[in-house]
Symmetry: C2
């Protein structure tokens, strides 16, 4: 959390809040919320449903630490850098989570970001203010090994894109002509 708290934030608003789950009953309820959404996602995926159901998408009952990351209440007071882009509070908090991810990895710990939940259910379960917003359930702890590829690549769910295909020059879909200016 120290690493996360040192992330940059829009207008220095530091919108991140952390709810550490130490109560086993709360953890079990979080798991139920995630599992309900997992089944609804499977239905939506149609022909890829069975393939999806074989994927590990959370480790909430097995991991050492569970942290819920939340965008703070009263964020509308922060205008700098957000007048036309209010979602920069989420962007800042994602930067904080990426800091935590890299820090965990550097310390030999695994981390998973679970986004399988109805936000409203978390708001109720964790007594959050209506104008706050849960964005992540983080599962943290030791792992048996680190895979050499992302799980979804290894299982054939998706492929890594070629970076060249994602980079344009001066205009959408215009390819880079020179490697240097």
């Amino acid at each position: 959390m120290e690493a996360g708290h040192h992330a940059p934030s829009v207008g220095y608003m530091q919108p991140w809040r952390f709810i550490r789950i130490t109560d086993q009953a709360q953890r079990t309820k979080l798991h139920s919320i995630i599992d309900a959404e997992r089944l609804l996602t499977a239905e939506t995926l149609n022909e890829r449903s069975k393939e999806f159901m074989r994927l590990k998408i959370e480790g909430i009952l097995d991991c050492t630490e569970v942290l819920v990351v939340v965008l703070a209440d009263q964020r509308e007071n922060h205008i700098l850098g957000r007048r036309t882009m209010p979602e920069m509070d989420l962007a800042s908090t994602a930067c904080a989570i990426q800091n935590m991810w890299l820090t965990a990895r550097a310390e030999g710990l695994g981390m998973g970001w679970v986004s399988f939940f109805e936000p409203e259910k978390l708001i109720q379960l964790l007594n959050m203010p209506d104008d706050s917003q849960p964005i992540a359930i983080l599962c943290l702890g030791p792992v048996d090994k680190f895979d050499d590829k992302p799980l979804l690549e290894k299982t054939g769910w998706a492929k890594r894109e070629n970076l060249q295909a994602l980079v344009f020059e001066n205009s959408w879909n215009e390819r880079i002509k020179n490697a240097t200016k």
Copy 2:
């Protein structure tokens, strides 16, 4: 961009696209878009307007490289981890940008994330598809020095929050009672 492209992404969707600005005319137009938003933000800030106008919020005409970071078109095809949380595409791309930020810093380069713009104006200027979304104008390059504190802290715009005040246990606003489980 290589570091950014290695960020984790929801459902491995890799939603980031990069538009490298090498054309001076495009750079000048981007600057005009930013400056227009800067003035509108100043108006909105009322009593803090003058203080705001003294802040450096972009370096677009001075920096070495300008990259516009965009959320790809056709993102609605990606459901895994986004059925209830579609904004996870932005979160993933922010993780990519944080990777780029840390990489730049490790290489002695400064980076700024500018979010002062009307998204619609960038979509027009850069011929972007309607269902894509610009989220950052990144200014990159060598800097005279790295400040020991965030600029907005140094100038007194805002203070660093005490991390303890941002961490709860099991429920919003419930303070941590024990340091360990």
